[in-house]
């Protein structure tokens, strides 16, 4: 389907002796929501900055919608929307003034400008507050305004660098709803489907992506759909509460050849396909008259994926060697500022 949204080959970025990006290859198709995961300092932001033409690569090649990020800088910029990790709004101007500023800066058609502003402001639920100065907005509202602004010039690729950082869980959820909305609403994409390239270090958020790349220490260590990545890590966990745990364990062994264990008051077994396993489970255990009260199927989380590929949890990777353990990732970030 034409050129890919993002194509990267052998990308390297060195800052003096530090190699932030150590040769990555990547292809993102049009219309994808592509997640870029990894701890702070993994090279995510450097990579996204190269793709946004803000940083020049030391080596390798990167194209966005078929345009070279070094040679066709201005052309790339016209086709991408950017939402940065740090806020880039003008607080003394109103929400709508910020958007108008952006439209003028990008030279968008004036006849369509006002209607487009209304469109994106309504989409992120800020239409009623458009006249208020941005300084009166909450963190979540500012983020939403920035996403609206990123969409103003109908970009073909929207880059979101840590769009949910520092937001409460509910607002984080809302932001993802808007991202999902982008793919559903043709008004926001024109005749070409919009591609969303998003970095995050919240593992749970990666579930919203079609595909994800896990980056660690400047390299992509895993790249696939969230499900496939989780499948690589291994089995689903099926936990059942029963009337008679001993009988259930025995039945599992004799009927299904599975070795279960009692964990936290539940009989637990590991199987490759948990959802498909449940009907068989009922069928066979029913024969033995084992009463099943509840069944829980747990798929491996992306945390497990990250752990499997890097040998460390994302939190510990971020804390770095010798840093205090057990702190919430947010707390770590606040201290880093």
């Amino acid at each position: 389907m034409g050129t890919p949204a993002v194509a990267v080959r052998g990308l390297v970025k060195r800052y003096g002796a530090v190699e932030a990006v150590r040769g990555i290859d990547l292809e993102v198709a049009r219309g994808e929501t592509f997640g870029f995961l990894g701890p702070n300092g993994a090279g995510k932001s450097t990579t996204i900055n190269i793709l946004c033409t803000l940083v020049e690569p030391t080596d390798g090649h990167a194209e966005v919608v078929g345009l070279d990020v070094v040679r066709d800088r201005a052309a790339v910029r016209r086709r991408i929307g950017l939402v940065f990790q740090d806020p880039t709004l003008d607080a003394p101007m109103s929400g709508e003034q910020n958007l108008r500023f952006h439209q003028e800066l990008y030279g968008v058609d004036r006849r369509r400008a006002a209607a487009r502003r209304e469109e994106v402001l309504r989409m992120v639920g800020l239409w009623e507050r458009r006249g208020d100065e941005v300084r009166t907005y909450s963190g979540g509202m500012r983020r939403r305004l920035e996403i609206a602004r990123g969409l103003l010039h109908s970009p073909q690729v929207l880059f979101l660098d840590e769009p949910t950082i520092g937001l409460d869980p509910q607002t984080r959820g809302t932001i993802w709803d808007y991202v999902a909305e982008l793919h559903r609403n043709p008004q926001n994409q024109g005749d070409e489907e919009i591609t969303v390239f998003v970095t995050t270090h919240y593992m749970d958020e990666a579930e919203h992506c079609d595909r994800i790349a896990i980056m660690n220490e400047g390299r992509i260590v895993a790249l696939d759909t969230p499900d496939a990545l989780k499948a690589q890590v291994g089995a689903d966990r099926v936990a059942l509460t029963t009337d008679d745990d001993e009988a259930a364990l025995a039945a599992l062994r004799s009927e299904l050849g599975l070795e279960g264990a009692v964990r936290e008051g539940a009989v637990t077994v590991a199987v490759p396909d948990g959802a498909g396993f449940v009907p068989r489970l009922f069928d066979r255990l029913g024969h033995h008259g084992v009463g099943i009260r509840s069944v829980t199927v747990t798929r491996p989380s992306l945390d497990d994926v990250f752990l499997a590929h890097t040998g460390t949890t994302i939190r510990d990777a971020e804390a770095g060697p010798g840093a205090a353990r057990g702190l919430h990732p947010m707390a770590m970030r606040m201290r880093g500022r």
């Binding site: 201005a74 010039h153 024109g190």
Partner: protein
């Protein structure tokens, strides 16, 4: 892709002079929005030039008046264009370094990642600073009658034009200074360090006649001198003074034995505007 619903997508046009101009214009407009919103700044920045004009001017004026025969002009009249220049210096330099705030709060990034040249952004900033400085001076211009300067429309128009030019030059200088500064705390002393000598060595506060050689040389290499003198010249053109008095209070600029015409002074100022803006663009390209 199954269905293709074509709604009117907003397409960003390829670069052209028109898009660059629009970018510069909206940056200028933002400076205006900020100026109008910040009334406290308007009022407080008027205080300094008024002090210079009426306190310093009257104080020094009485000293000079006592040693002087008739046929003279009041010192405050002499000082009037100089005070304009001081007002422009501080207002415009402030407007220039305000880009450090833009950087600190992230908005500079929004401007510099746009598909327009950074020269357009900085041009807009320069025009904004010049406009703010000019608007400030309008209040001072209204006081012309109090210091014996006539309300001649042509003179006022010429002054406004010259003030705008001076404002652009100083804003561009502020931008040059701000290019490598990350924090506003470090920008302030830097500006003081540069602006204060420019003010004292420009002929804004005293006539450039009969100065010791070292001082005369310093005033001649100060670009501000070439922006202040046309302003004073315009005022004196509209005063009823004899040649001797004018030679004393408005001696003009002399290179060796050549009296530099006002037109050449203005050309020098224009050249400084262009050079400083180019320097600012160069420095910003290297840092961002």
């Amino acid at each position: 892709m199954t269905t293709t619903i074509t709604t009117e997508a907003v397409r960003v046009p390829t670069s052209s002079l028109a898009t660059e101009a629009r970018a510069a214009l909206v940056v200028w407009e933002r400076e205006m929005i900020r100026f109008v919103k910040d009334r406290a700044r308007i009022l407080s920045s008027l205080a300094q030039p008024l002090l210079f004009l009426f306190v310093l001017g009257s104080g020094l004026g009485s000293l000079l008046g006592s040693t002087q025969a008739g046929g003279s002009v009041p010192f405050t009249t002499f000082l009037f264009p100089g005070v304009m220049a001081i007002s422009v210096l501080f207002t415009a330099a402030f407007a220039g370094i305000s880009i450090v705030w833009d950087r600190e709060f992230g908005f500079l990034r929004e401007m510099l990642v746009a598909p327009v040249s950074s020269a357009s952004i900085l041009l807009g900033k320069g025009l904004g600073g010049a406009s703010v400085a000019t608007l400030q001076c309008l209040v001072l211009l209204a006081l012309a009658g109090l210091v014996g300067v006539p309300y001649d429309p042509l003179m006022l128009l010429a002054m406004i034009g010259l003030i705008f030019l001076m404002g652009f030059m100083i804003t561009a200088l502020g931008l040059v200074l701000a290019a490598r500064v990350r924090q506003i705390q470090s920008a302030m002393p830097l500006v003081q360090l540069v602006i204060t000598p420019l003010m004292f060595l420009s002929g804004a506060l005293f006539p450039l006649s009969g100065l010791p050689t070292w001082l005369a040389v310093l005033t001649l290499v100060n670009p501000m001198t070439y922006a202040v003198e046309p302003l004073r010249s315009v005022v004196f053109d509209h005063l009823d003074v004899d040649a001797a008095t004018r030679a004393r209070f408005d001696p003009g600029i002399v290179w060796g034995t050549w009296p530099v015409p006002v037109a050449v002074q203005i050309l020098i100022t224009v050249a400084c505007c262009v050079l400083l803006l180019a320097l600012a663009v160069w420095r910003f390209r290297r840092t961002e």
